[in-house]
């Protein structure tokens, strides 16, 4: 018994909660034009990029912070944050991994992220973002052979300005909403992907986001363009140290799929969720939107959201091209005092467009979970269809689960189906599993993984196993 309890204690600990002592370069505290110029300047950005930021900032000053979401949070003082923090060693631009600060390599090693040469055997190309900057991108040569561009956003602005100019802000305009506009003004780094016409990307692309510095917001920006007939599967992972303060993470992710192209975007989000009493943790307020611009294009979002104090995001698809397809597969888990308000938007504009939403919400402890989703079928989107399935699983009787679907159908040829269930893990199910030799934690893990199976299946193989474990660990200690 003793060792079992000890094991559970160890598992309960957020194992990514360490922080790295590293010398940083920071922008002065606060949000103003000078800070934005500082960011743009340190990144040696061209004028059009600075103008993009300043335009966004002008707009931001006029916007009001939204407050319609279910999870409420104390007012954020936007003047009390650092908007840029980067390890000093990176500002000297290391050319390759061997020149990278060993402390950074060590950090990623501890996080289980393969940056070094021998780890390349894993066959996954990684872009590592540490606080405000990208510190390393692996597998570049291999990808270049296929004409694939996979680099940090800062690098893309320098090297591929035409592509960036053409697509940046076309899916999430700078005028979009409070947090997206803030991101447009102050974003620091992120990943850029371009897959040329007809190319199927031969490996998984992956970005690993790490918040390290305190009192720092992370505002990354990711842009993925899949040109005609191309395919890419992309995965992002996120962790942060344990700190008492709440830290803001407001990213923008834009995906663009041209004719016959497909983008598969997977997220395993494990930001620090705060402690058992709800102190600390990340505010994960992210805007993710994909545009199926071309005909027969497809965008698929898969998310496993286990971390953050508050998760507030709706990865969405705009189905503009005829016959385009949008998919959203989600597992969201809240435990202790975590809160989530998440779902998707499927905007059908083209003819014969299809969308599918599979959402699995699991709440335990004192947590609260809301699925919020919009299905909007435009009058011109003839013969379109949506299928939505929202399942909620409750553990214990102090948590909440809510489903808020918004459905708009503006033509007679289209149809929308919505199914929703709410269930509880029953004492009987647990007893049955225990009678077969499983301990309560294993039993919950098994039942919950069964509940999430449809979504877990969508993840790339390598990550499905990790995600499965994560699902179990996030719920440790939630069994009565």
């Amino acid at each position: 018994m003793d060792t079992r309890e000890k094991n559970i204690e160890q598992l309960k600990d957020y194992k990514y909660g360490f922080s790295t002592e590293i010398e940083n370069i920071r922008a002065p505290k606060g949000l103003n034009e000078d800070v934005i110029k500082f960011i743009s300047n340190i990144k040696k950005e061209p004028k059009w990029m600075l103008d993009f930021r300043l335009n966004a900032f002008e707009r931001f000053k006029k916007l009001k912070e939204p407050d319609w979401q279910k999870p409420k949070y104390p007012k954020i003082n936007y003047q009390d944050l650092y908007y840029y923090s980067a390890p000093k060693s990176v500002s000297d631009k290391p050319k390759n991994l061997d020149e990278l600060d060993p402390k950074l390599l060590e950090t990623y090693k501890k996080l289980g992220i393969p940056l070094q040469e021998q780890a390349r055997l894993n066959g996954i190309a990684v872009d590592a973002v540490f606080d405000s900057v990208s510190v390393a991108t692996t597998f570049k040569d291999e990808l270049t052979k296929h004409g694939i561009i996979f680099c940090s956003m800062s690098e893309a602005i320098q090297k591929y300005p035409d592509l960036v100019k053409k697509y940046l802000g076309t899916v999430i305009p700078t005028t979009d909403h409070f947090f997206a506009t803030l991101n447009s003004a102050v974003f620091t780094d992120g990943s850029f992907v371009y897959i040329p016409e007809g190319i199927k990307c031969p490996m998984e692309l992956s970005t690993y986001f790490r918040i390290n510095a305190s009192e720092t917001g992370q505002f990354e920006r990711t842009l993925i363009i899949a040109d005609k007939g191309s395919y890419v599967s992309y995965l992002e992972g996120c962790t942060a140290p344990m700190r008492d303060e709440n830290q803001l993470h407001a990213a923008n992710v834009e995906l663009i799929a041209l004719d016959d192209a497909e983008i598969k975007y997977s997220t395993v989000q494990n930001w620090y969720p705060g402690d058992e009493n709800g102190k600390g943790g990340i505010y994960n307020f992210v805007t993710k939107r994909g545009l199926c611009k071309g005909k027969n294009s497809k965008i698929s979002w898969t998310q496993v959201e286990t971390g953050s104090a508050i998760t507030w995001k709706y990865p969405s698809c705009i189905l503009k091209g005829d016959n385009s397809i949008g998919e959203f597969y989600s597992i969201a888990i809240t435990n202790n005092h975590q809160k989530a308000d998440t779902g998707t938007k499927m905007i059908h504009l083209g003819k014969n467009t299809k969308s599918k939403i599979i959402s699995k919400g699991i709440s335990a402890g004192f947590s609260d979970m809301t699925y919020r989703g919009l299905v909007d079928i435009n009058s011109k989107a003839k013969n379109s269809s949506n299928y939505t399935q929202c399942d909620s699983l409750l553990m214990g009787n102090k948590c909440g689960a809510h489903t808020v679907p918004y459905i708009k159908n503006k033509n007679y040829d289209s149809n929308i189906a919505h199914e929703a269930t709410t269930s509880k893990i029953s004492e009987e199910q647990l007893h049955y599993c225990q009678q077969r030799g499983l301990n309560p934690e294993e039993a919950v893990g098994l039942i919950v993984n069964g509940f999430c199976k449809e979504v877990l299946q969508q993840l790339p193989m390598e990550f499905a196993v990790e995600a499965q474990k994560l699902v179990g660990i996030s719920l440790e200690g939630s069994v009565g």
């Binding site: 009678q435 077969r436 309560p440 069964g450």
Partner: protein, 244 residues
């Protein structure tokens, strides 16, 4: 193997088992018969470790106090309950459940866990013996199974885990004659001088196929009479009401 001494069980201040005593030796098959509400399922629940009862008295399993063991620890030590109403677990593949269960028990006993190939070989062999449709092993656990299939699945699990003490809680109810035979064969094939069975049933019918060493009649939470297989026949003739 199992010694129950003066077991009392209450739920919500209602007394269900009253000074219940029973002794099962290795290799013995005991049948407990009783009408609805006599406390049969409470007995199997308590032996398996289900929470929610106020309990006094003593239960020893291989000379260890059963009440000091968690449900899963009882399973590790070789107690198996074939549930009256087997639970559905959506999304969990039956094979995976069986493998997880088998390996959890093997691990707890310091035995090597079976890999996928060893497991599949074993499960194939056992399914064949029990005429269990192998295709069902790839379906979600008990989801969409008929009543009979669920019960057969319980017996398959029993035969995979080869427990020392198997408790069958009304496994025969809802079974047709063919399924009843299969279930009985499953039990009989596990019978040996070490393994014991506690068979809880309403009907004599099952005992035509599984010959018990002892039959006990349970009424109002107490064993009112014990005897050999002939007692079941007598009970069948007279009915519970006129018995005693």
């Amino acid at each position: 193997m199992l010694k129950i001494n003066n077991l009392n069980a209450n739920i919500d201040n209602k007394s269900i088992l009253k000074d219940f005593s029973l002794n099962i030796n290795p290799g013995e098959v005991h049948a407990i018969m009783g009408p609805n509400g006599s406390g049969k399922s409470t007995l199997s629940n308590i032996l398996s470790g289900k929470k929610g009862y106020e309990i006094s008295g003593e239960v020893l399993f291989e000379n260890k106090n059963l009440f000091e063991l968690e449900t899963q620890e009882r399973a590790h030590k070789g107690i198996f309950l074939a549930f009256q109403y087997p639970l559905e677990i959506p999304g969990v593949n039956t094979n995976i459940f069986l493998k997880t269960s088998l390996n959890a028990i093997r691990k707890a006993n310091g035995e090597k866990e079976l890999d996928a190939i060893e497991f599949l070989k074993l499960v194939k062999e056992k399914s064949k013996e029990l005429k269990f449709d192998e295709e069902k092993l790839n379906r979600q656990l008990n989801v969409g199974f008929s009543g009979g299939e669920k019960k057969k699945n319980e017996i398959l699990q029993m035969s995979m885990l080869s427990p020392k003490l198997s408790i069958l809680d009304e496994t025969d109810s809802g079974l047709d004659i063919d399924a009843l035979k299969v279930v009985s064969e499953g039990v009989n094939s596990l019978r040996n001088k070490n393994n014991s069975f506690l068979i809880i049933t309403h009907y004599q019918r099952l005992l035509d196929y599984i010959k018990p060493d002892f039959v006990h009649v349970l009424m109002n939470g107490k064993i009112i009479k014990s005897g050999g297989p002939e007692l079941a026949l007598e009970l069948e003739k007279k009915g519970y009401e006129n018995f005693n």
